[in-house]
Structures are given as structure tokens and as C-alpha cells.
Amino acid sequence: MSNWTPFAILALALGGAWAVACVEQAVAGGRVAPAHVLRRAAAQIDQPLAVPAGRDAWLYHLAPPLLLVAAVVALATVPWAPGFRGVDLSTGAILFSAALAYVTPSVFMAGWGAGGPLAVLGGFRFIALMLGFAMPLAMVVTAVAAPAESLRPAAIVEVQHAVPMVIVQPFAAALFVPAAMAVALLAPFDLADATTELEGGAFSRYTGLHAGLIALARKILVLAVAGMTAALFLAGWQGPLLPPAIWMALKTGAVVAGMLWAGRRLPRFELERLLVVAWIVAIPAAIGVIVLAGLITLLFYR
């Protein structure tokens, strides 16, 4: 963690968000206009700020910064290359889960502060969704850390030098990816801000700088989640020929494109069925994954 790391992380956050926006356009309509993304972002930022119709201006104004901080902290824990391991904490994986856990209050604050019944409904839907998915997210991160015998993301990447974790623990990946997409408010799980259904849901009342911050935070969140998926399950920066950073960029890009493509392919899930699956299938499976991780560690990695 050299003293250049914070600036590198911020630069990565802005550049990565722009790249995710371009990938989104490519997956959506095949018409990529990189300059257009910047122009629309600039136009959006100098719109006037909307006055919240709701009851709580404090929460309304605090939600976008909190979402941005949570996204940047989540991005900071992702190990990108041997030279640039982000915030290299011995508890990096748990810090990643903790950062993602702060997306829920910020979405609720946005919905509650905005005030309209649909915005509040969007906020509550997201809380219900996250309560179901919080367990798989946190447990799978620790299950993946078991073979590496450390919660440091860089160590988890290094333990996958022989075989990526997605092959060793496919169930863990099958639990982590949907939960990660749900946290990043991606398409099949976009129950909190369904455009036509909830009229924009929790973030519907934001304009100007608020809307810009939220759009930026969501793109950084997608990047962080995809980066961590690549690091934890696809052996991060390890790869035969290309330099490590290129491998990590390729894998993250592939995961982002895959998540966005799944969003276009699958209809939005119904909250009731999703919660039944989350509570009755995902949480017991998450506990099973931890037991399995222990066995695999003892059998193969010790």
C-alpha cells in the first residue's frame, strides 16, 4: 500500500466507470459512442438539483455520497496486479463485504428521502432483497478464503495459481455471482429502480449532480463486483502469456459483459420468488459451501 495507491484507485474508479458505461452500450444496442457518455454525464451534472418531495432532506442528500464511498471502498479492496494490489489489508475480503453492505442503507435513504410511495417501495424492496442475499455474499467470500488460509485478496489470487477457484468450488461461484449482481443493482435484479414499473424507483427523484454521483457510483460498483469475481474465482491476474494487468482487465471485462448480457437475456425476477429462493436455497447452500471449502482445503491445499 504505497502512498500512490489512493490516487491510482481514484483514477481506476473514473476510468473503469467510463469503460463499464461503454460496455453497457455495446451489450445493449451494439452502438458504442464513448464520447457521448462523457457529454451526457457533463450535461447531467449541470442540471439543477431537485428539491426532495419527501420528508427527510438529510437522508436524501446523504444517499449519493454514501453510495459512492461504499463503491470506491469496495473497488479499493480488489487486487488488480502484483504491483498494484489496491488496499492490501489482511482482512481485505471482509472489508469488501462490509463496503457492499453499505449499499443497502444508501438505497433505502435515497428511496425514503425521495418520498413518493413508489420510491419508498423501491427502497424497501432492495432491503428485502439484500437481507436474503447478504448471507451468501459474506459466507462465500470466507469459503473462498479457506484454501488461501488468509483473507487477503492477493493471497486468494495467488493460491489459484494451479487451478482457478471456479473449478474447485463451482457452487461458491454460483452463489456469489447472482448475489453480486443483486448488490450492484444489475438487470435481472433491478427491483429497486425498475424504470417502467416503479418509475425509476429509489433513485427517481435525483437530478443534476446527485444523479451524476449515483450513476458514477453504480458503474464503480459494477466494476468492483466484477473485479472481485475475477480475483476470487478466475485466478485474478494469473495467466500464461500476457502481463498480469492485461489478464485482470480481460477477465474483469469478460465478467462485466457477462453480467450485463445476462441482464438483457433474463426477465426481471419477481421479489417473492426470489426471496423464497434466497432464504430456502441460497443460505443453506452457503453454509454447505463453507463446509465443502474446509474439506477441500484439508484434502488438497494443506
Binding site: 437522508l59 482482512t91 472489508l95 462490509a98 453492505a101 442503507p105
Partner: protein, 184 residues
């Protein structure tokens, strides 16, 4: 972390923790109260980080966010005026409870400052995850088993209590609420 860094992180976060903790009980809006409590206990995680127990600080940050969101959820469900617009005063005999609180603070503060605690000089680094792991799985294994069982019993008990019809499955009495006047 060096002393200066510890002081730089400790003092502001301790101050914010206390102020947000106090405002939890002075604010009208219940949603805001829940999120202030989230801020207070979350920033306590930062205080733990400043006291160099990194694992506990990050764990506190993770745990508190989940718990407080559930708190806000329940508050908005069960309180007559979650938006805090009716200006209802949801407190009673504030003066006496403030006096009791001040007394408690004075007593504990005196104990904290008066007694001379052993070895205030910090020697090695705080125990990292590995040591805590071996501790939890080694010496304190039994206690942790009980802690785990307690949580299990609490979950089962909680669900039974909250189930429709209560523990014995008796439907709620005739459905209509009995308010103060006792009129059905």
C-alpha cells in the same frame, strides 16, 4: 499504527460516535434514528480500527450495517409516525433518565480514570486474524459453541414468538384491537 495516526483517527470518530448516538434519541424521524444508530456503531468500527484491532473493526462495520437496516425496517413497520412529521413526542420523563445517565457516566468515568491500569505501554502488534482464529478454535472453542447455540435458540424462539397465532397457534383474539378505553 503510529500514535499520531491513532489519535488522528480515534478522536474524531469517537466524537462523531457519541454525537450520532445521542441524536438517535433526540430526532423525530424514526428512519433517521435507525440510520444515526447505524452511523454511530459503524463509526465505532473505525474506533476499533484506530485501536489497531483491524479484524474487529472491519467485522463491526459489516455486522452493524446489516443489523441497523433491519432496525430501520422494523421501526418503519411498527411505529405510528415513521416519517416524524406529526411531531409526536415519543419520550417520557426525559429529565430523570438524563439524570440517571449523567450519574452512570460520572461513576464509570471515575472508575476509568481513578484506578491505575496495568501496563499501559503498548508492546507488540495487536493480535492479527491468525492468532484470533487459533484462539477462537483453540482455547475458547467451548464458549464459542455456546455463543453459536444461543444464536440458534434465539432464532428459533424469535420465529415462534413472531409467528401468526403466537407460540401455541391460537389465532389473535377476535382480531379487533383493544385500545385504551377498552371499546372493541
Amino acid at each position: 499504527m503510529s500514535d499520531l495516526a491513532t489519535a488522528l483517527v480515534f478522536w474524531p470518530s469517537a466524537a462523531i460516535m457519541l454525537v450520532t448516538g445521542l441524536y438517535v434519541f433526540r430526532t423525530r424521524s424514526m428512519a433517521r434514528a435507525g440510520l444515526l444508530l447505524l452511523a454511530s456503531l459503524g463509526i465505532e468500527g473505525l474506533v476499533f480500527l484506530s485501536l489497531a484491532s483491524e479484524f474487529l473493526g472491519v467485522l463491526q462495520l459489516l455486522m452493524m450495517s446489516g443489523e441497523m437496516v433491519i432496525m430501520v425496517f422494523f421501526m418503519v413497520m411498527f411505529m405510528a409516525d415513521p416519517g416524524g412529521l406529526m411531531g409526536m413526542d415519543m419520550t417520557h420523563d426525559k429529565r430523570r433518565s438524563a439524570a440517571v445517565a449523567a450519574g452512570v457516566a460520572a461513576a464509570l468515568g471515575a472508575v476509568a480514570v481513578a484506578t491505575d491500569w496495568p501496563g499501559t505501554v503498548v508492546t507488540g502488534a495487536a493480535p492479527d486474524i491468525e492468532q484470533i482464529g487459533f484462539e477462537v478454535m483453540g482455547r475458547s472453542m467451548l464458549s464459542f459453541l455456546f455463543a453459536g447455540m444461543t444464536i440458534l435458540f434465539a432464532m428459533v424462539g424469535g420465529i415462534l414468538l413472531a409467528k401468526h397465532g403466537g407460540r401455541l397457534g391460537i389465532p389473535a383474539p377476535a382480531g379487533e384491537p383493544r385500545d385504551e378505553e377498552g371499546a372493541p
